[in-house]
């Protein structure tokens, strides 16, 4: 099985599993062979990792099946890890325009709306301001789009993961 690893810095790593045993694996990393061992220490996210004799205390948080945050030597790296089949499926999906939903990433209070129905947003445009932990946070659109539905009002308390605003893909406009 091949894996395609993308880091938030933009770097890509290609990895192939040549052989695997219990807790060990022989890998081909960007064409270089690496002997790995991998041990789940506490079933709470701590791992002991060995790569060709180098040793690492790694922490892993899975945000989804393919979105992983790996912490190493005090720094965290967001890694998207897809295998060859997922990659093939993903390429298909990427060719379609994206509808976007703005969710509350945490419970809080909507202290201000920055958009109106039908408004066109560029990627990165602010959508609303959410107050949580005594800080006001501006929530922005990732891909941009047309404001299709606004499900909250200013002053409203919202739960984590609550749907706030729906955007239609920009491409549909054209």
């Amino acid at each position: 099985m091949k894996y395609y690893l993308s880091l938030s810095s933009g770097r890509e790593v290609e990895l192939e599993v040549l052989e695997q045993g219990p807790g060990t694996a022989r890998l081909l990393v960007d064409g270089r062979e690496v002997a790995a061992d991998f041990l789940d220490v506490d079933r709470l996210g701590q791992y002991a990792v060995g790569l060709d004799g180098r040793s690492y205390a790694a922490s892993i948080e899975a945000r989804s099946d393919t979105q992983l945050v790996v912490t190493l030597a005090g720094e965290s790296f967001a890694v998207t890890a897809v295998d060859e089949r997922e990659r093939a499926a993903g390429e298909l999906a990427a060719s379609r325009p994206k509808a976007e939903t703005i969710m509350a990433s945490m419970p809080g209070i909507v202290v201000g709306l920055r958009v109106e129905l039908g408004q066109t947003l560029e990627p990165g445009d602010p959508v609303l301001v959410l107050e949580a932990m005594k800080m006001q946070n501006e929530i922005c659109s990732e891909h941009g789009g047309i404001v299709q539905e606004i499900l909250v009002e200013a002053g409203e308390s919202v739960a984590g993961n609550q749907l706030l605003v729906k955007l239609a893909p920009l491409e549909e406009e054209a």
Partner: protein
């Protein structure tokens, strides 16, 4: 005024625990108060007595002055320590303590009132001969007044909440067009945080560094400076990394700034612990504000001077006259990193969740002040700071490298923290040379610089490999399972799956 025997701690989290620890060491009994969200918190478990205040929202719990005073009365507490935040700088608590005959473990109400008002404190400082930043002496009632004031002073200016503190309600305004939006958000933040939306305008000091002085006074007229701290590493006026002493200052500044701090404190007849904050730029320093309470970064001073500031506060509140604190000898250097449950990679969004698995840094020179525990739920109701790491060393470089080592050891499962950003900042040239100003972190984030890592390995590649190993170990994708004809999973995959289930059951 006899020594205190039972102290009510009107706070939560890390600072409540910090105060509680000193009380226990002094043989002083502790009364904890808590919100419904905090029943199992460490500050509750480690206290001698604990009483429920109300619902999780601060207004229903930690800001409930009436309930707190009622519990103080019921339990016979003879002192109240407010920590920082919540009621710490609220004169109403001081007044209520006086009325109830309970010692307020903090400064006199007048000092709190003057220093709590930006403009009154400016006037007092000018009178005491403490240098201040040029700016207005009256608050701007609305955007137009603020615009007019800024025109007089000259852009860029700072817009600051008159009642502010802790970095809230502050905005930089570089040109007139930015004033309206800055005024409305800052004033709104101030109104929500302090119940007072008034703003004033100040000249913006160029490339300022944040230098502050710890002062401690008693009720017998003694007041001492206990060294300097540097807190220039901040984002949106929230400090991220602090250290003691401040280094890379022009000759004589360390002495003069400590003298100015004592003059500032004496101008308001200060006692207890407090911090006088200054902006420092090109050899000059300007009074910024005085925080009339214990500060988040107080441990770096404790480490360098071998002193317990909470103990001093409790002794002062008990009427004791302090020994000569100017005789304290500094030793080495200390650096503090705040660990906030927030995601620096995602616009510093608060990271909520349950802490599952915890590995704190130990060893020489490593202090941890924290209230975090396995199973703790990070809720949206309170501040995002869940722990502080403090590294002490014989010199600044040893403390810096020690802090890097501590951050490498740290693991807090289940939430995202600011630790990774701190790790990067500690390795920048600017931090190493101690010449970062208060805008450094924001510039650093905007630039999107590649981290300068002292760790030799190619960590990005290792992270990528670890991510792949995790997927392989988990038996990976459904696709893979389908392909295992006859359902014959390898033993490794089966074990991986069981472990995952066990892990989940535990969360």
């Amino acid at each position: 005024m006899p020594p205190l025997r039972k102290v009510l701690i009107a706070n939560r989290g890390e600072i409540a625990l910090r105060i509680l620890r000193t009380c226990r060491e002094m043989g002083v009994d502790t009364v904890a108060v808590y919100s419904e969200a905090d029943r199992e918190a460490l500050h509750v478990r480690f206290a001698n007595e604990a009483y429920l205040l109300g619902g999780p929202a601060p207004a229903d719990s930690y800001l409930r002055l009436d309930r707190i005073m009622e519990i103080a009365r019921k339990t016979g507490a003879d002192g109240i320590h407010p920590g920082f935040g919540f009621l710490a700088e609220n004169p109403a608590l001081v007044a209520a303590c006086e009325e109830a005959g309970v010692a307020f473990i903090g400064p006199p109400v007048r000092a709190m009132e003057i220093m709590g008002d930006k403009l009154a404190s400016r006037r007092a400082m000018i009178e005491a001969g403490v240098p201040v930043v040029p700016g207005t002496t009256d608050p701007a009632a609305d955007v137009d007044e603020a615009l007019a004031a800024a025109e007089d002073i000259g852009y860029p200016v700072m817009l600051k909440a008159s009642a502010g503190g802790g970095g809230k309600g502050i905005r930089v305004v570089r040109e007139p067009s930015e004033m309206e939006s800055a005024f409305s958000t800052a004033s709104g933040e101030a109104a929500s945080a302090f119940g007072d939306g008034r703003m004033y305008v100040e000249k913006m000091v160029v490339e300022p560094r944040h230098i502050e002085v710890q002062v401690v006074g008693d009720r017998h007229g003694n007041c001492y400076a206990i060294g300097t701290r540097e807190c220039s590493i901040q984002r949106r006026h929230q400090k991220l990394i602090e250290e003691a002493p401040a280094v890379n200052l022009a000759d004589g500044v360390s002495e003069r700034i400590q003298e100015a701090a004592v003059a500032a404190a004496k101008a308001v007849d200060y006692f207890s612990a407090g911090t006088v904050e200054f902006l420092y730029s090109r050899g000059e320093f300007y009074f910024l504000e005085m925080n009339t309470r214990l500060q988040v970064e107080h441990p770096v001073t404790e480490e360098v001077y071998g002193v317990d500031l909470v103990e001093l506060m409790i002794r002062v509140a008990g009427g004791e006259e302090l020994e000569d604190l100017s005789a304290l000898e500094p030793r080495g250097h200390a650096i503090e990193v705040r660990i906030n449950a927030e995601d620096a990679a995602n616009n510093f969004m608060p990271s909520l969740g349950t802490v599952s698995g915890l590995r704190m840094p130990f060893g020489p020179g490593a202090r941890v002040d924290g209230a975090v525990y396995h199973g703790m739920e990070i809720t949206p109701y309170y501040d995002a700071m869940i722990a502080k790491l403090i590294a002490s060393g014989a010199d600044r470089e040893q403390a810096r490298r020690r802090m890097m080592r501590m951050l490498q050891e740290l693991h807090i499962g289940g939430v995202t923290t600011s630790a990774g950003l701190a790790m990067q900042i500690l390795q920048t040239e600017e931090f190493c040379a101690a010449r970062a100003d208060t805008n450094f972190v924001e510039r650093y984030l905007e630039e999107g610089r590649a981290p300068q890592r002292e760790f030799a390995d190619d960590l990005e590649e290792v992270a990528a490999i670890v991510a792949a190993l995790h997927r392989i170990h988990q038996g990976a994708a459904p696709l893979r399972r389908e392909s295992a004809a006859g359902g014959g999973l390898s033993p490794w995959v089966a074990v991986g799956r069981q472990r995952r289930l066990a892990g989940r059951a535990n969360r």
